[in-house]
């Protein structure tokens, strides 16, 4: 593991004062100065005003950890991948609401320099937006106009082993630095003002199939990142790096090693190539001081014969102590998965009264078509209920949380028809939760697929999947819908059907709206209570990313990435 440092400075991070855009119009008038008088110290006379101003006002600079924790109080900014640590992806801005959503207007479009398809969730900090391309370009834009301030391009090696193409889903911020994981498995730190690289650390080896596509998460002075590569027989882990220096603080393997509890759930040496990657961003509860991170499929994906056992901790959610990496509890959704149903969903944390008791809860709508409610303090399984069509389980044992499998649903030589598909009833695209409606919103897909098993022999850097899947019919033959679910019962309140299908993330807002998109390039606003469509626009590019909302120029904006461009909407200016 190498760590290239571009800088020896410590973080300017926590400087507090934020400048408003009108707050210093009368700033000292002296940077383009006359030549200094000879024989006098230059700094003393020429730079004095500038230096004093720069340090005492501390510029736009710096998103402190305290601010990240209090993101709910700062709805003008979008400070992390899922908006807040609880990952509710709920905007507390309410200027755009049910009564006026129909009037939303396009404010700007920014064409990103990429041939790929955007999956980025931009961050917005003091009216500066930071967005990424699938090939690890970061661009800083004016959030009001979409005009560019700077761009940074991570240099990628010629050869990459990627199951599913180049992807990137965004950056994290701390102080005046940004953090990005790259598809060649590096973690880089950039100066948020200029895009200059500060450090670059190798997290993994891209030649073995390791890559990073998710946005990192910052907790205190740590940058937490997972790793992708579940189709290449990697052994998954979660890492924490020093935000200042880029040095590794801890690594927690998702698959226990020999002698550790859970290693016996892998046949022979299969744990070494067992996958269980951590390719999506998790959530965090600052009060309990626990990170929650989903893990991906066991490898090889569709041939379970070479890895008999439950295959812990694949397809699980792990609760982890951020300072040490210690695993506090785990819950596995799909023991011995043979359908590639990663637990790659973003866990949504919320508190509510459940069966007469106030509890700290986690809602998890899994790729395997079941919605789970867990107690996030203890990991206790509370209930699970189908939220999309499935044929693989009689149900979930309501005591243990284990699925009761339907026999003969494993992939086979001749193909086995199973719902949901490989892509799942849900996938990485973010769900959302509105504390106002108390509803959980998810993009659900009712399709089925033929699953085939093949031989699987591990070879470093080669796909290690042991089979494949074929669609059983055209995508639009099945229902794809935004579903509103009562997270305390699993009851479906409404659904909004999307044709031909949707795999976008969702955003709920204080204005009583839910925003989402479709593969047909349609971006829509729904009534969060009823699911009625209030507005839509055709953006001409697959909407796979998740929307965000922020305030700029005193107005609420909504941004979505579609195809290769960012689109930003707001109400007509007064």
């Amino acid at each position: 593991m190498t760590n290239t440092k571009y800088s020896g400075v410590t973080l300017l991070a926590t400087a507090g004062e934020k400048m408003t855009h009108t707050g210093y119009a009368g700033a000292p008038a002296g940077i383009r100065r006359a030549a200094p008088a000879p024989n006098r110290p230059l700094g003393a006379i020429v730079f004095a005003a500038f230096t004093i101003a720069a340090t005492s006002l501390s510029a736009q600079g710096g998103v402190s950890y305290e601010q990240l924790k209090a993101a709910a109080d700062d709805p003008a900014n979008w400070l992390m991948y899922s908006g807040e640590y609880n990952s509710q992806r709920f905007s507390r801005l309410d200027e755009i609401d049910r009564s006026n959503a129909a009037k939303l207007q396009l404010r700007w479009v920014y064409q990103m320099p990429t041939l790929g398809r955007l999956e980025t969730t931009p961050l917005v900090i003091d009216e500066v937006m930071y967005a990424t391309t699938p090939d690890n370009v970061v661009i800083a834009l004016d959030a009001r106009t979409g005009r560019r301030y700077w761009s940074y391009s991570h240099e990628l090696p010629d050869q990459l082993a990627l199951c599913c193409g180049k992807q990137n889903r965004g950056v994290a911020v701390l102080g005046d630095r940004l953090y990005m994981g790259t598809i060649d498995a590096h973690l880089v730190s950039l100066d948020a003002k200029t895009g200059a690289p500060i450090w670059d650390t190798e997290v993994g080896d891209p030649r073995t199939g390791q890559s990073i596509t998710a946005a990192p998460m910052v907790v205190r002075d740590l940058v937490i990142t997972g790793i992708g590569g579940g189709e290449y027989g990697i052994r998954g882990f979660l890492d924490a790096y020093d935000a200042d220096t880029g040095e590794l603080r801890w690594r927690t393997w998702t698959i226990p090693g020999p002698g550790e509890p859970g290693n016996e759930t892998w046949e022979g040496d299969s744990w070494k190539t067992g996958g269980a990657p951590t390719w999506m961003t998790g959530s965090y509860d600052p009060e309990l001081d626990l990170l929650y991170w989903g893990t991906g499929n066991p490898g090889p994906d569709w041939n379970g014969e070479v890895r008999e056992g439950d295959n812990l901790h694949s397809d699980s959610v792990l609760a982890i102590r951020p300072d040490t990496g210690e695993i506090v509890w785990t819950f596995q959704f799909t023991p011995h998965d043979v359908h590639d149903w990663d637990a790659c969903q973003v866990p949504i944390l919320f508190d509510a009264e459940y069966r007469g008791e106030r509890r700290k809860l986690m809602a998890f709508a899994n790729r395997n078509a079941f919605f789970y409610l867990l107690d996030r303090e203890t990991g206790e399984f509370l209930f699970a209920r189908e939220f999309a069509r499935q044929t693989w389980a009689e149900g979930i044992d309501q005591e243990t949380g284990r699925p009761i499998r339907v026999p003969n649903m494993f992939p086979s030589e001749e193909g086995t028809l199973v719902a949901p598909t490989i892509g799942g009833a849900a996938n990485w695209f973010s769900p959302t939760y509105s504390p106002d409606t108390g509803l959980f919103y998810i993009q659900a897909y009712d399709a089925e697929m033929r699953y085939y098993m093949a031989e699987a022999e591990y070879e470093e850097g080669e796909l290690f999947v042991g089979g494949y899947g074929k669609p059983a019919g055209p995508a639009d033959q099945y229902v794809s819908a935004v579903r509103a679910i009562d997270p305390l019962t699993g009851d479906r309140k409404w659904q909004y059907q999307v044709q031909p299908r949707s795999r976008s993330g969702l955003l709920a807002t204080k204005g009583g709206l839910v925003f989402g998109g479709s593969v047909a390039g349609i971006f829509y606003a729904l009534d969060a209570e009823t699911g009625d469509e209030l507005w839509h626009r055709r953006l001409g590019g697959d909407v796979v990313a998740a929307p965000i909302s922020y305030e700029a120029g005193g107005q609420q904006h909504v941004t979505i990435a579609a195809g290769r461009a960012l689109f930003t909407f707001a109400l007509p200016a007064e």
Partner: protein, 265 residues
């Protein structure tokens, strides 16, 4: 035995097929690694391409302008034939260097021309003492109020961490004594006056008919609607004052030697 895995694309991430991603890089790898066009005639032909496509940034004689000095025989982004070929063809990320789209032969000829420059040029022997220059940089100049060096210092002037790679000594010297003579295109001075009378100065980041973006002197990224501004001024004068009266003679030599020595691996 079960046939080819046909649906790789549908696996975990619902992404793109694997095939297309490395087309360009594979094509590059298959190309020749050593320069097959090295005759005198090739060098001459390369010089012509260079004057047409490269001299705007690298100077007519390759000693650098906005772009780096190419006469040293050592190149920051790789000195092998293959590295030079690749960087000329595809450009270098995060720099002003774009690729030039010409037949392989022309690019190899440019490589030959660059080699001929380094035979003639090479490293410049400077009179100054870089260690003493470093002290001057740190103390007398207050340079770091505006310039960044290895991650610390200001941002309103160009980052100097790798200045020695980018600039010839003569250029560095001129930038100290007369900064406005050859301003870095990324650090144009801009000054806007709002309708309320406030004045904001900084370096220009972007501009169009309706809006303007800048990094202000307090290092804020800022954007203005022109409708909200009374005036936009872009003086052809650097924010950096001329320092000829502060650094002269030996001091200037030392400072130049120090800045020229900033060449991280």
């Amino acid at each position: 035995m079960f046939g080819a895995p046909v649906l790789v694309a549908a696996i975990a991430l619902w992404g793109y097929p694997v095939a297309a991603q490395n087309v360009l890089s594979r094509a590059l790898q298959e190309r020749v690694q050593e320069n097959p066009h090295t005759t005198e005639a090739d060098i001459e032909a390369g010089a012509k391409v260079f004057r047409r496509s490269c001299s705007l940034c690298h100077g007519a004689d390759g000693t650098g302008a906005d772009g780096p000095d190419l006469t040293r025989g050592v190149f920051r982004h790789g000195s092998s034939d293959a590295a030079l070929f690749r960087n000329i063809l595809t450009g270098i990320p995060n720099t002003g260097m774009g690729g030039i789209y010409q037949p392989d032969r022309s690019i190899w000829q440019v490589v030959s021309y660059l080699r001929s420059l380094s035979r003639a040029g090479g490293e410049e022997d400077l009179p100054g003492d870089p260690r003493r220059g470093r002290n001057l940089y740190m103390s007398r100049g207050s340079c770091s109020d505006c310039h960044r060096l290895n991650g610390s210092g200001g941002r309103i002037g160009p980052d100097l961490s790798d200045l020695g790679w980018r600039r010839a000594p003569g250029h560095i010297r001129a930038s100290i004594t007369d900064p406005s003579a050859a301003m870095d295109a990324d650090y144009r001075t801009v000054e806007v006056r709002t309708r309320e009378g406030g004045i904001v100065r900084g370096v220009l980041r972007n501009e169009d008919r309706y809006s303007i973006q800048l990094l202000d002197e307090f290092e804020n990224l800022r954007s203005f609607q022109k409708a909200d501004l009374a005036e936009v001024d872009k003086p052809e004068e650097s924010l950096m004052p001329p320092l000829s009266s502060f650094f002269r003679g030996r001091d200037l030599d030392d400072l130049v030697a120090y800045l020229y020595s900033l060449r991280p691996e």
